[in-house]
């Protein structure tokens, strides 16, 4: 038996295509890749912090270093922790798709 992602609270597969049920016109998607130098970092822990620095969500990157959040328009910080190092990136997100790179060192 399968339940939809909204029945749970764990993160969906970070490399999967956006589910067909997700209306990109209504969502504020923040997505991107964690890299150490040129190399993508899989298995990195990426957290989304709100404009006050408070934790909002966390996902683990796919083997290709990808992550994805569903947020709201506004300023957000992405903080990555990994065995390759840590890093922060701030993004001013708008409704629709927002692409962000998060370097770690």
């Amino acid at each position: 038996m399968t339940m939809s992602t909204v029945d749970g609270c764990g993160a969906p597969d970070q490399a999967a295509d956006l589910p067909a049920s997700v209306d990109i016109a209504k969502e504020t998607v923040i997505t991107g890749t964690v890299r150490a130098g040129d190399a993508p970092v899989g298995g990195a822990y990426v957290r989304l912090l709100d404009s006050t620095g408070e934790f909002t969500a966390e996902v683990v990157t796919s083997p290709a270093g990808q992550f994805r959040f569903f947020a709201a328009p506004g300023t957000w910080t992405l903080r990555a922790l990994s065995r390759e190092g840590n890093g922060d990136t701030t993004v001013a997100a708008a409704q629709g798709l927002n692409e962000v790179a998060v370097p770690v060192r």
């Binding site: 764990g10 993160a11 006050t52 934790f55 966390e58 683990v60 709201a72 065995r83």
Partner: protein, 282 residues
């Protein structure tokens, strides 16, 4: 009850892999993480398919829980060490759930998968074969589980703690931000609930903060420890994390987890809801 009775460190865990009468259990909503690598000897429990009734919205009953643990090779008197991803949310939920069914010796691995991985500790893909047991559970301990009517009755009289993110509390988001936001329930929070996100209790690596730090956080938030407390989130797993902090680490007497949480409360007809950053009035 002290921290050492309910929490083990990654160092302790690594030294006690394979120890007699100790069973490591990885709990997640999505067990593909376990399948890709887990702590040596650990068995897995799937939060969604094994701990929830698959027809009604409720837990598996006592007999089903006994059958589940028996099939996993977990004995009634074994020490169960729980861990998982998502900063131990589902492991904390399982901890509360094991307590609900009266398991005596249960502990959380501080930091869960994240701390284990950031420490560069080893995983295996070998799946252990544990002989089946004959597990005996107790009747549910309702003193740690709250239902919707308990929550409504607590408005303005008991401590209500909303442990979701500030944007979910205020009604700006309807789910944690790794999930799509299109949801059926109304946004907001239970009036008079204090906003203390679960994450306040954890360090960045997923370990719990010290008892002194924890006491300060809930004290500053205005938690009155002479009153009973109900914690809730969206589906009851993040609030299990806070339940663990208040009941097991700080030793508060009466703390209940509302597992129906916002997905139930936000869909109820006729109950009061507050929106915005303030707790609101009863």
């Amino acid at each position: 009850m002290s921290r050492d009775d309910v929490l083990v460190s990654a160092d302790w865990a690594e030294k006690n892999l394979g120890a007699e009468n100790v069973v490591f259990v990885e709990v997640d909503e999505d067990t593909t993480a376990y399948d890709g690598g887990h702590i040596q000897g650990a068995v897995k429990i799937n939060w969604k398919t094994e701990l929830q009734d698959q027809v009604r919205r409720d837990f598996v009953n006592k007999e089903q829980f006994e059958a589940l643990l028996s099939s996993k090779g977990i004995g009634t008197d074994d020490t169960v060490v729980l861990y998982g991803g998502n900063n131990n949310w589902f492991a904390a939920y399982a901890y509360w759930y094991f307590k609900l069914y009266g398991h005596r010796n249960v502990k959380l691995l501080d930091g869960g998968r994240k701390k284990w991985e950031l420490d560069n500790r080893p995983y295996t893909t070998d799946v252990p074969q544990r002989p089946a047991t004959s597990y005996t559970a107790q009747e549910q301990d309702r003193s740690i589980r709250a239902f919707r009517d308990d929550v409504v009755a607590a408005i303005g009289t008991q401590n209500l703690i909303d442990v979701r993110s500030p944007d979910e509390y205020a009604g700006r988001l309807l789910a944690p931000a790794h999930l799509p936001q299109e949801q059926a329930q109304r946004p907001g929070h239970v009036p008079t609930a204090l906003s203390v996100p679960w994450s306040k209790a954890a360090n960045e690596d997923g370990t719990f903060k010290t008892d002194d730090e924890l006491r300060r956080i809930y004290g500053e938030a205005g938690l009155d420890d002479s009153k009973d407390t109900i914690a809730y989130c969206r589906i009851g797993e993040r609030s299990s994390h806070t339940w663990f902090v208040l009941k097991e680490l700080l030793g508060h007497q009466s703390v209940r987890n509302y597992d129906g949480s916002w997905t139930e409360y936000g869909s109820l007809v006729g109950v009061p809801v507050a929106i915005g950053d303030e707790p609101g009035k009863a």
